[in-house]
Symmetry: C2
DNA sequence: TGCAAAAGTATCGCAAAGCGATACGGTAGT
DNA sequence: ACTACCGTATCGCTTTGCGATACTTTTGCA
């Protein structure tokens, strides 16, 4: 089984600290502290947090104190450093509950799960990455990576390419240019031209297929989900195992279902 | 299907703003703003956030500005007020990844899911409530309430009673006394003595059974998960439908499996 | 066993940073 | 057209959080 404590994806596309303005609110500092854990694979000490977040140990001390009071941070049970706290889940729940896109997609995704029998999920775009927002597992499988909030890059995922295929050509190129093109598996495409070729195929077909771009043995089919204006905001995935399917049969079986599902969203 | 935008549970046991000290960091203010959404069932305007959080509109304005920059808040796509932002999921993921209890429980829970074929989940105690941290659905069912971060009270859930059964008697009483004893369904027990009686049964049996305490038609079995010191920190649930099971057969089938699972954790 | 390194806690004064009041432009809904 | 109300902007005052320093405790290694 995969180790969930370790970020599955090597360099994890950091979601741009939002460069808009330079001025640093102390609220932002609080989140800098929490964000220090994005790269962590275990409890963090005050010093480590300070190093990661670029803040003084003093500042971190005070902030950690507050965050602990509020339940957003806690000590490691074994008393080695600090860990993210339970209260963070409350906010994640609010996000899921109140997000209109998720509410719209949920029933359709459930139907798709029933129709395909495979793992299906819905993820939302955040600039260069795709963040899993809903996931329904299939009967058995890689539960390990099934956590909400996991994110994957656009350039090497089926859903990501499906999204790129609905962006203006130059914007798609820009996404790829700005992405760190690291190979996650031996078959990950890292050549911009090759990626754009796949994107073009996806534009034509209306869906994208990705074989083992992230995880060995996995095949995924992605279709874009659009907002009212027709801009891609996320993607629906159907994911299966290469032990049971080859690309052609997978697409033949599931592409129509997935596209119907997405279609009902996009004009419904 | 249930409407996920509305908090399923009426008064939602607010997780105690942590009264420890009165001094209010501005970081805490930031979270006050985010927490305003806990009671919301749609986008919130600046004024509504101000009202909910007890802050000035000016303060809220500034805080919201920062939170938006950082991606923790965003405007409603339909341009009516604000909604929680995607970045919140990043932190929820960190919580799940780095939490040692979750890492410990995950494989056991997967096994239990396979062995039972029913919905199983793991939740962590936060004072008076139980917060869902991991959930594996069964083939079909109430996906609606399946979101991570959902919380339920201790006094009327199988897992909650399982936890109470491992607390010192007076502490269990205190939990019940401090809980708002509202009936979620027509069969919810709200009499402290009756609840304690169930807790005593659970202490004896090693597991707790709850029929329709929260959701009509649902039966749940809960076993406590302990830390090294033997204190209950959470619970494992197996949940099924009363259409397929009665309490006795449900317990006969799943109590041994669930207790074995928890047992392997508690002394492993 | 004992020493060194590092972690967590505490204190305190300065100045930066956020708050509150007030005011303005835009958008609905009446 | 008028009236709320929402979001945005501006600007002093002073609250509030930061940084430097220092102390106690725990960890890890010799």
């Amino acid at each position: 089984m995969t180790d969930i404590t370790r970020p599955v994806l090597p360099p994890l596309p950091v979601p741009a600290p939002q460069d808009d303005a330079l001025f640093v609110d102390s609220i932002a500092r609080g989140f800098r502290v929490l964000s220090a854990f994005h790269g962590a694979s275990g409890p963090l000490s005050l010093g480590e947090i300070a190093a990661q977040s670029g803040l003084t140990k003093s500042a971190v001390q005070r902030i950690v104190h507050t965050l602990r009071q509020q339940g957003y941070l806690r000590r490691d049970p074994a008393d080695r450093g600090y860990l993210p706290g339970l209260r963070l889940l409350d906010h994640a729940l609010d996000y899921q509950r109140l997000n209109p896109e998720i509410a719209r997609v949920l029933p359709v995704l459930m139907e798709l799960r029933a129709a395909t029998g495979e793992r299906v999920d819905f993820s939302l775009r955040d600039d260069l990455r795709l963040v899993y927002a809903l996931r329904f597992q299939s009967k058995r499988g890689f539960y390990a990576a099934s956590l909400i909030g996991t994110s994957v890059p656009l350039y090497c995922t089926a859903g990501g390419r499906a999204i790129l295929s609905r962006l203006p050509e130059d914007e798609a190129r820009s996404v790829i240019a700005r992405s760190p093109l690291v190979p996650y598996s031996s078959r990950t495409l890292t050549d911009p031209a090759a990626i754009m070729a796949r994107v073009a195929e996806a534009r034509e077909a209306g869906y994208a297929i990705a074989e083992e771009q992230i995880v060995a043995g996995e095949i995924a089919l992605g279709v874009p989900v659009l907002d009212e204006a027709g801009h891609p905001i996320g993607a629906i995935h159907v994911a299966g195992s290469l032990a049971e399917w080859d690309a052609d049969s997978f697409a033949r079986n599931f592409a129509p279902l997935a596209m119907t599902a997405a279609g009902s969203l996009n004009r419904g």
